[in-house]
């Protein structure tokens, strides 16, 4: 892009990105110190903090949050790396790769509900073995889900996060010249897992550091997933805060704000600790990498990761496959493995709403994602130019961390402050406000997905084009953008599915006046009705899956189709 004044564009976008974040933060920080005029509080005080720290439930919630919020990402990372090391560039792994997109596309709440049905004592796993093997005529009184240690929550987190990490890693493989590395190492006699452990993973980690941080922050703050499948005596801190924020006793809000602030500090500390742990670990394993051993016993770790990873994927697909069955079920009691009576009623009941919900959902998702794609291109171009100027390969740009702030902050609390801003601007309740808020959450994912391919683009193509005839803007689109099609389409699909899944931002910015498939699905999930949730989740997942699928098939066929059309019209 022949941009001029890149530093001004950078500054402008940075301000646009930071402003809502700062206002959201202020909206949380002031009540955390008891300042909140609408409730008649004009005096600063530390009372909310004293109240938080006096709550026994706060400590037990925090402990649970730390266990699930660190355990989930750690295990996800392990399993994702294992699967990648095992299957990279193997033909059957390609098939698994294409299956990842449905999991990425399906909203968390739907996965959690599916998983709950799969694993609970009256769930599908127990059903297929009952009563002929287990002898159970009625479900056993086991705690297989919502267990007090948060194991089922960790499992649900892995199911959602491992595919995302795998997706990010696959995208990053090109930039570390994985194939050349593998060939070279294999020629030297290294076994597959060992060369990954010693050569590729250390190169890969710095590229995927931010996605990992996103996953950690998500695990520490997730509400919908933890509500469904997490323990409730106590719940995780995010759920506890959510309850405090929603308490009819409005003075609970102060304590909740203080807790939300504490949660933000916790995220920063955990991320800092994670980074320190990673550095310590690399320093510790550094000499081991060059000891010349072609195999090692730690390879077993990656091998075991493959087994667990496959089991996890299998569970995810089972959970996803069971939901649509519910949408067609009338009676489906324990211990039947399939419904005893079927019906179209559940789907028919959902149809009248569909047109409005679908058009709202698509309008918001398309607008937010298109804007995010355009903004990402601007940002990446300014980053590329400043990189080219300073001639450093790994220059840290302001965008690289600014953009992630919204998704690293807990949505609860932060969004309330933002809502007040929207009301001041008189933007509340409009579709534009929803799109703007979605943009905050879509942009980081689009930017992140596009960043690698965009910066790796061989600029010589564009330079060559401009040497041939100098039309920089036109060439930017018909050469660079056209060549980056696959990356752009993937980034679009990613952003699209993120937008579709947004619940709190849609509700808060739209003030509930604009329903989407997700707000409707979660409103119905509140009733715990698996049939309703099944039909809604099916629809909710449908569009992202289609978009992901199109993103895979269009770029490879685009030129062929375009040429065919051209020929057709020329002949005609």
């Amino acid at each position: 892009m022949p941009l001029k004044h890149t530093q001004w564009i950078t500054a402008l976008i940075a301000v646009l990105l930071t402003l809502p974040v700062i206002i959201g933060l202020i909206g949380t920080l002031l009540p955390a110190f008891q300042f909140f005029p609408p409730l008649g509080e004009y005096q600063f005080s530390t009372a909310p903090w004293r109240n938080v720290f006096a709550q026994g439930e706060f400590y037990s919630s925090l402990k649970l949050t730390l266990i699930t919020g660190i355990g989930g990402p750690l295990l996800s990372l392990w399993l994702a790396l294992s699967l990648l090391a095992w299957g990279y560039e193997r033909p059957f792994f390609r098939k698994i790769e294409t299956l990842l997109s449905p999991i990425l596309a399906v909203p968390h709440a739907a996965i959690a509900i599916g998983l709950l049905f799969l694993l609970s004592p009256s769930g599908w796993l127990v059903r297929i073995f009952s009563p002929w093997l287990t002898g159970f005529d009625r479900p056993p009184n086991w705690i297989t889900v919502q267990d007090p240690f948060g194991l089922s929550l960790i499992f649900a987190l892995i199911i959602k996060e491992m595919p995302y990490l795998l997706f990010v890693m696959l995208a990053a493989m090109k930039s570390i010249k994985a194939r050349e590395n593998i060939q070279a190492c294999q020629a030297l006699g290294y076994s597959r897992f060992t060369l990954w452990r010693k050569v590729l993973i250390p190169q890969l980690y710095p590229i995927i550091r931010l996605p990992i941080f996103i996953v950690v922050a998500f695990s520490l703050t997730v509400v919908d997933l933890a509500l469904v499948i997490g323990p409730n005596t106590p719940s995780t801190l995010a759920v506890t805060l959510y309850r405090w924020f929603n308490d009819p006793d409005l003075s609970m809000r102060f304590m909740a704000s203080a807790g939300a602030t504490f949660l933000m500090v916790t995220i920063v500390l955990v991320l800092g600790g994670w980074e320190i742990a990673h550095r310590a670990f690399s320093a510790f394993t550094r000499c081991e990498r060059s000891d010349g051993k072609r195999k090692g016993i730690t390879d077993i770790l990656l091998g075991a990761g493959v087994v667990f990873g496959l089991v996890t994927l299998l569970n995810a697909f089972a959970a996803l496959a069971l939901l649509p069955i519910w949408s067609l079920a009338k009676r489906w009691r324990f211990p039947d493995a399939l419904p005893s009576t079927w019906t179209w009623d559940n789907i028919e009941r959902a149809t009248p709403l569909l047109i409005e919900l679908t058009s709202n959902t698509l309008l918001i998702a398309f607008s937010a994602t298109l804007i995010a794609c355009a903004a990402s291109l601007f940002m990446l171009e300014t980053k590329r130019q400043s990189m080219a100027k300073s001639n450093k390969a790994s220059q840290q740009h302001a965008f690289d961390w600014l953009i992630y702030v919204p998704i690293l902050l807990p949505q609860i609390g932060f969004l309330f402050g933002l809502h007040v801003l929207l009301i001041y601007l008189n933007l509340n309740g409009s579709i534009c406000a929803i799109i703007a808020l979605h943009l905050m959450y879509v942009l980081p994912y689009v930017y992140l997905t596009l960043k690698g391919p965009y910066l790796a683009y061989n600029e010589n193509y564009l330079l060559q084009a401009n040497r041939l005839n100098n039309r920089p803007w036109r060439h930017y689109f018909i050469i660079k953008i056209a060549m980056l099609k696959p990356a752009l389409f993937t980034a679009f699909a990613m952003g699209f599915s993120v937008s579709i899944a947004q619940y709190l931002p849609t509700l808060i910015a739209g003030e509930g006046r604009h329903s989407t498939l997700t707000t409707e699905a979660i409103a119905q999930a509140a009733s715990g009705d698996r049939k309703q949730v099944g039909s809604m989740a099916l629809l909710q997942a449908l569009f992202p899956v289609i978009v992901f699928w199109l993103a895979q098939i269009i770029p490879t066929r685009w030129t062929k189709w375009r040429l065919a059309m051209k020929n057709f019209f020329q002949k005609g």
């Binding site: 330079l463 401009n466 040497r467 056209a482 060549m483 099609k485 030129t559």
Partner: protein, 211 residues
């Protein structure tokens, strides 16, 4: 005629090339040889106006007494052929070639130019093929023709033959030389293969590390 006067190239810590001067007449090829890392390619970047910011170059370049070094890249009318043919992978051969022809040429003439070019290449049947369906030698030839179709005023060749099979190289070299003669423009070839230089039938300049 392309003239370079007193070209000096230095990186942050040392001088790479000192006080290099030469002239290239129209239709002639000057070959420059030297070990890698010496700054041969940087000379080409200096002439095309895309020199990296980490290097500093002084000196002057003229095309028919017109100063080049003060102009931005897009105003220089330079043709550059690199190691990689850089055919745009998402465009057919004909589109790649069409892409190069200046916009002010009429539609009829464009077609004519392309037809001639493809015939010259003996690839009339490949018009709608995609770059990846072509062999390396074919790609290199298409890339050269594409560069020439843009009617450059001078041509820079950055080891354009090094990625080709030895058997192909001879053909491609001959083709390139013939095209340059026909276009009647000065060309500068950077290479570390003395065969390249010989084949171009012009002067050869060897650079050593600056002392």
């Amino acid at each position: 005629m392309l003239s370079v006067k007193g070209f000096t190239l230095s990186s942050t810590d040392k001088t790479l090339i000192r006080d290099l001067s030469f002239d290239i007449a129209d239709g002639q090829v000057l070959s420059i040889m030297g070990p890698s890392g010496i700054g041969k390619s940087s000379l080409l970047h200096f002439l095309s106006g895309t020199l990296s910011h980490s290097l500093t170059a002084t000196g002057e370049a003229f095309l028919n007494d017109d100063a080049l070094h003060t102009k931005p890249t897009e105003a220089r009318k330079v043709g550059l052929l690199q190691q990689m043919p850089l055919l745009f992978p998402h465009m057919s051969i004909i589109e790649n070639l069409l892409f190069a022809i200046p916009a002010d040429v009429t539609k009829e003439t464009r077609r004519e130019l392309i037809r001639n070019a493809l015939e010259k290449l003996g690839m009339s049947d490949k018009a709608n093929a995609m770059p990846k369906e072509l062999s390396g030698g074919q790609q290199a030839r298409v890339a050269l023709l594409r560069t020439l179709l843009a009617k450059p005023d001078y041509l820079l060749l950055d080891e354009p033959f090094s990625k080709l099979d030895p058997a192909l190289r001879r053909d491609v070299r001959a083709f390139v030389l013939a095209e340059i003669r026909q276009a009647n423009i000065p060309a500068l070839l950077v290479t570390h293969d003395s065969e390249d230089a010989k084949a171009m039938a012009g002067k050869c300049l060897e650079i050593d590390a600056a002392k």
